[in-house]
């Protein structure tokens, strides 16, 4: 039964991912006094892209054709090991937080390689920038994860969330610092403003879009969907690590229903906040981004130090 719940959880992740992207877009449009597309517009886009024919550049190799499937399946697999609405799922034992960081890195490895495959300047530019950002974001992310893992004395995600939600620890100073650090890393990793703008196709500023410029049709659909999944993964990780109130621990229909309802509410609030933040912030210059991520790293480090010095000793 619990494995079925884990499966349901994964499917919910995958299916809800485009919706969250739609909500953010809807909020932004409302705030900018534009006519908003319907919330389910990302589904319509995916549906259209899946049906469309793929334009394949002559210069590309087999890797270019394999990468969308690989990236997509890694993203979906990561969903399986992150608790969504119930904590005690057996799949979390397969991969702990460090493996999750590794899985994100693996997906990015293939995406950046695919970016370089067509042999155009755009792809290389996107890949190079993506690797710059990830190289600095990854240690910061790991520091943040270390800080939260230390409070639970475990790197297993279920254990961490359980500990954080049981002990009502969210007022701990180390958690506040880790939460701030996590937000900065998540903005960078999911390619949101101020690091990357998901809506432009202006060559001087784009990162993620430059990398996938050669993709079209079904391949593009897989990659877009994977990006949306990554976005919802980071959102859920943020909510479940730092605001885990109400998440179900063990299997009960009532608990799960309540948990899903609360989660949907929290995700909507997060999407609104993100939308407001995105229209009020400007994109940073590329060489300013390392400062931002260094700040994230320092925050993570402070969280670890505060935990080690004050909260343990």
């Amino acid at each position: 039964m619990i494995w079925l719940v884990a499966l349901a959880q994964t499917l919910l992740f995958v299916i809800a991912a485009p919706l969250l992207a739609g909500i953010v877009k809807w909020v932004k449009c409302q705030l900018q006094n534009r006519k908003a597309p319907p919330l389910w517009q990302p589904y319509l886009n995916l549906n259209k892209l899946f049906r469309k024919e793929v334009l394949l550049a002559t210069t590309t190799s087999q890797l270019f054709r394999a990468a969308p499937y690989i990236v997509f399946s890694i993203s979906v697999f990561t969903c399986a090991v992150v608790p969504l609405f119930i904590v005690n799922v057996p799949t979390t034992a397969i991969a702990d937080v460090i493996v999750i960081v590794g899985l994100f890195a693996l997906a990015r490895f293939f995406l950046t390689l695919a970016g370089m495959d067509a042999g155009t300047a755009f792809g290389g530019m996107g890949s190079s920038r993506e690797m710059l950002i990830s190289a600095i974001a990854e240690p910061a992310l790991l520091m943040v994860f270390f800080a939260v893992a230390m409070t639970a004395m475990s790197t297993n995600l279920a254990m961490i969330i359980k500990q954080l939600s049981l002990n009502h620890l969210w007022l701990q100073p180390s958690l506040i610092f880790s939460a701030l650090g996590f937000i900065l890393v998540a903005l960078a990793e999911t390619g949101r403003i101020p690091v990357d703008n998901p809506e432009t196709h202006l060559e001087l500023t784009m990162i993620h879009e430059a990398m996938i410029l050669e993709y079209s049709g079904r391949y593009l659909a897989f990659i877009e969907w994977a990006a949306q999944i990554k976005f919802i993964l980071y959102a859920v990780l943020f909510i479940n690590l730092f605001f885990p109130w109400g998440i179900a621990h063990d299997f009960s229909w009532f608990g799960i229903g309540w948990s899903i309802l609360l989660l949907a509410l929290k995700l909507t609030v997060l999407a609104v906040i993100l939308g407001v933040a995105e229209i009020s912030l400007a994109k940073l210059r590329l060489f300013r981004i390392p400062y931002l991520l260094n700040l994230a790293f320092i925050l993570g480090l402070l969280a670890v130090l505060i935990h080690i010095i004050i909260e343990v000793g």
């Binding site: 399946s73 397969i94 950046t112 690797m131 390392p290 343990v312």
Partner: protein
Amino acid sequence: MKLVLLLAIIIALSSSALTLALHYFPRTLKFVFFTLLGTSGIGAIGAGLSVLITEQNISHKIGLSFPNLILQFTLDPLSGFFLAVVGIIVISVACYGPSYMRSYEKQRPITSMSFFTGLFVSSMYLVVLAHDVFSFMLAWELMSVSSYFLVAYHHKHAANRRAALIYLLMAQASGLLILFAFSILIKFAGGMSFDVLQATKISPTWASIAFFLAFFGFGMKAGIVPLHVWLPQAHPVAPSHISALMSGVMLKVAIYGFIRFTFGLLGNVCWQWGGVVLFIGVVSALLGVLYALMQHDLKKLLAYHSIENIGIIFIALGLSLIFMSTGHPLFASLGLIAALYHCLNHAIFKSLLFLGTGAILQQSHEHDLERMGGLFKKMPYTAWCFLIGCISISALPPFNGFVSEWLIFQNAFQAVTLKSEIMRTLIPVAAALLALTSALAAACFVKVYGVIFLGQPRTRHIRHARDPRFGMRLALGFLAALCMFFGVLPTFTISLLNVIPKQLIGAQLPNAQNWLWLIPITSKTSSYNALFVTAGILAIGLIGYWLVRAYFGRIKLRTVKPWDCGYGGINSRMQYTATAFAMPLRRVFQAAWSICEKTEKTGSETSYLLQINDWIWQYVYLPLERFSFTLARSFSRLQGGNIRVYLAYAFITLILLLWMVA
């Protein structure tokens, strides 16, 4: 088993001796030599595995005609593990060699190379088996000298001779430091056998001196920063299969020496030692990868990555020492196992990458990344194998490099249990820097792979490249399969390795017998199941593919020219180059290198010059070189060339000696 072991060594030695006899029959020579080498590799693996499984040591003594001098060799689990590592790489080199040597045969006889390769391999077997100081140093020096001749194989270029000389100098310096370290132990113990050395206790001060001598001695051979400068010079110069042996295995033999000396012989460790090892490890890992990022000579780049990986191994060893000295034997054994597992993994993926590089060089005759490109379509088999190597070295799941780094992270995570607040805060920082290192390594290998295999060919040579011959393909496939095996099913190996910390530290991992789940401490703390990760990703990929295909129909493809912004005429020079790819990282981490960047305009032409140098080479080694030359020159004034002056020197020396004796 003793017979197998003896046979392995005798075969390796005889392969070397036979080459001299077969000098006039080069074709026979090649096949006989590599067959014997491969057989010895199989023997080494067999002997190594058997001692890891049965935990029964094998000893052998050889008496010499000198009194009190007995060469003692013992195969215990630690040497067995390293023997097996050497064996694995020797086998793949033996598969690879015959086809690879084709390009060398045409230029000059391969007798000397085969002779010294045989000697090199057998000396590595002997180093890990040696059980007394005399035989250890004998084998160690044999290893250094025979590898010098291999580095100097292309001695017609002055630059190669220079690289080989630097290698020999530093190898001798490291040998000297190790000898000093051993002599301190011998002074206290009064014997040369490792058993005697192990049993004696020495004062903490002398132990510290001996430890640091050994650390820098073995570290110099392993390539820690700042003693790494020989490595990026020597490795690219040697033929590729020799680079694989040197980078993949010889550096590991130096690690073996360090582990044997510290964990086996010294015993009582201080936490400060661990702190220093950890610090040097972090510095080596980070600087190694940063220097590698700026390289576009493929073999030099791989050599810098060896420095990085040696740094990672020393991080694990440093953690292990810290935990051992503070009374946490369980975590100490986790660190040691992580270090050993990374030794194995690095040996495999680095050899895979070096052998892959050899295949690329043989086909394209290019060293320089900026002149390659688009090789994926020309040599797909090599490309897939190389991809596996790149993923493994970048420490990405589910391949082998990730497992050992994951273990190191798990070990660093246990720092919370330490009493010392400094260590408790510094170890997480070290872990974060390790994360930075592996992220930078991933960036570097995206660059390498993207520029070599993807995109369009940048030069004409590249267009004629093909996949190499069967033997080379076999070696690449074998190593790539091992990368997957050790990544997906790590628990088999780790449960075998568990006997080593049991003997050296006196503790072992409690949950290592579980074959499916990798559990370093307890299943509550952390667990990793690489098999499920791999199976899950594959299954989801296939299901996704079939579902989309069933629902939306077969994929419709149309090949077109890549998007050129509507201008047309896209060509291979418009691609991102390796330098361009690394440029943002160069700008962010610019303090790590001494960069000289110039743009000059002469008439209508603009030239751009970019030089990136190693700080340490510029500010430590070059002044040292200049100083030693000045010193030598001032001494050379003594040599007037006049026979009467020399006679006077001899006379004065004689008088002085007589005075001292009397």
